[in-house]
């Protein structure tokens, strides 16, 4: 392992909240507003960390463990995800399964903690989160399987590093399908707009936000930071796929990866500004559609 492998996780830890700032500024630009400061989430996190926490008497240790386990899981997932051609510190065959299930562990504890409060609203959010996650998982796995078969490796770092411009020329349609499917999974998993509206606090329509209503102080900071990191890791996968800059010089590759991440944030903001939120009954259709695209990509690669 060389020193450059520390770049992807370090960049994620430092810049993940900035990604959300860029998304918000893009949305503000489309709406004709100036928007909140780019670094707003950093300010929020510092403010929340200095506060104390209040816990309801009906909750148990599960509720308190939720944000901590969630943040720990996504931090563990972070060391598996490369940034463009720059490999991750930890890479082994099959780490894409570990990656996917660490994100599942995070969600599992968020859901358990939401159920632990005994609030009916949080229960509703938990049920929706689990339903959509179950539908998004096949799309993610079939898409990753297609890329894995294409590159002949089951490790995320090797998989992403094997994609270069030549692969895009020879396998363009399949990679494009996988990128589309992963993009939909990215939006669904991070509760972005066509699936869930991160801005609203109307309980009837919320998914992720409603599950974390009862947190405050450092716990809320953990939840927010964890969500930002989750957005970063999934976006990093997508950027690794669609930005095939493989110069062989780590710093240059990392710069291309970072530029890709920022453009991904702008793209997410643009998608969120141009789409209305789907009705809840339509969301499964979108996710099943993503699964169909992944399946088609896998078929094209396997042939």
């Amino acid at each position: 392992m060389d020193g450059t492998a520390i770049l992807p996780p370090a960049a994620a830890l430092l810049l993940a909240p900035l990604l959300l700032g860029v998304i918000n500024r893009t949305k503000a630009f489309f709406a004709g507003r100036r928007g909140r400061p780019l670094l707003q989430l950093y300010f929020d996190l510092f403010k929340l960390l200095r506060k104390g926490a209040t816990y309801s008497r009906t909750t148990t240790w599960v509720f308190r463990a939720g944000p901590i386990v969630g943040l720990a899981a996504v931090l563990a997932a972070l060391v598996l995800v490369p940034l463009g051609a720059v490999g991750a510190p930890l890479a082994f065959g099959g780490d894409l399964l570990v990656f996917a299930y660490l994100l599942c562990l995070m969600r599992f504890f968020t859901v358990l903690a939401a159920l632990d409060t005994g609030s009916s609203f949080e229960g509703m959010g938990a049920s929706r989160e689990v339903l959509f996650a179950a539908l998004a998982e096949p799309a993610l796995f079939l898409g990753l399987a297609a890329v894995a078969h294409q590159s002949g490796s089951l490790s995320l770092s090797a998989m992403i590093a094997a994609i270069d411009p030549a692969t895009w020329v020879s396998r363009g349609p399949a990679l494009g399908l996988v990128a589309t499917a992963l993009g939909i999974v990215l939006l669904a998993e991070n509760s972005r707009l066509p699936v869930d509206d991160p801005e609203t606090h109307l309980e009837l329509t919320m998914i992720h936000e409603v599950m974390v209503l009862d947190y405050g102080g450092p716990d809320l900071a953990f939840v927010l930071y964890g969500a930002a990191l989750k957005l970063w890791v999934l976006a990093a996968l997508l950027v690794g796929l669609i930005v095939p800059v493989r110069t062989g010089r780590p710093l240059l590759d990392a710069a291309a990866g970072l530029a890709g991440m920022l453009s991904a944030a702008v793209a997410i903001g643009a998608v969120e500004s141009s789409r209305a939120r789907l009705r809840l009954v339509r969301v499964p259709k979108l996710l099943v559609g993503a699964m169909a695209l992944s399946a088609l990509a896998l078929v094209l690669v396997l042939r």
Partner: protein, 218 residues
């Protein structure tokens, strides 16, 4: 550029529009998707066989693009406007389940495509072509039986026709132009007549739900 490099994107467009058709409920969207599918398929034979038989291939391509990309959508959009039907197709099978079935059909077609041996496959890697054609054919049949309104059945018929056309591309070197033109003409007449029938059904019964057409109206 090799045949495969030309063929794959077009077949992907074909299959993606199939899935979108299974998943979309608005007629207007469905009609546009079918026309996109028709145009993509129209280009296919001209690109594949362009070098050896250019004039005929391009004529066929032009004919099918004009027919499927312009005439059919125009006819169908006109009925949609004049028949005052509901804007959404009412399927018997839910959209998500339809898409899942579509994936099943795709896998089945792939298996058939890899086992089927066709006479003209020597110079062309056609296993994907055959699979995509078969999948489109089956998805078209499914669209025909799973939707409630007469207009969806016309759309399903066009998708079936597109599937058969994809099959035909494999053999286009061997089929006389007259037969090809005849098939296009048949499709045109069929869509034309079905459109008129759908219009008359809607005027007579104030709906075009075919599941209510099993009783005689006194």
């Amino acid at each position: 550029m090799s045949d495969g490099a030309v063929m794959e994107p077009i077949l992907v467009v074909l299959l993606v529009t199939d899935f979108l058709l299974l998943g979309s409920s608005r007629f207007r969207t469905c009609i546009k998707l079918v026309s996109v599918q028709g145009v993509a398929l129209g280009i296919l034979p001209a690109l594949l066989h362009g070098a050896e038989n250019s004039v005929r291939a391009w004529l066929l391509a032009g004919g099918s693009i004009v027919l499927k990309g312009v005439v059919f959508p125009w006819l169908l959009l006109r009925i949609l406007r004049e028949a005052q039907v509901r804007r959404e197709a009412q399927p018997f099978v839910g959209h998500s389940l339809s898409i899942l079935l579509g994936v099943g059909v795709l896998i089945f077609s792939l298996w058939v495509g890899s086992t089927l041996v066709l006479p003209a496959t020597a110079e062309l890697d056609t296993s994907l072509l055959v699979s995509a054609g078969l999948a489109t054919l089956l998805i078209g049949l499914f669209l025909t039986i799973s939707r409630r309104t007469a207009l969806s059945q016309v759309l399903g018929y066009i998708v079936v026709e597109n599937g058969i056309y994809t099959f035909g591309v494999v053999l286009v070197g061997g089929v006389p132009a007259l037969v090809e033109l005849g098939v296009l003409m048949d499709a045109f007449v069929a869509v034309f007549i079905m459109s008129i029938a759908a219009y008359h059904i809607s005027r007579e019964f104030e709906h075009i739900n075919v599941d209510q057409l099993d009783r005689l109206k006194g």
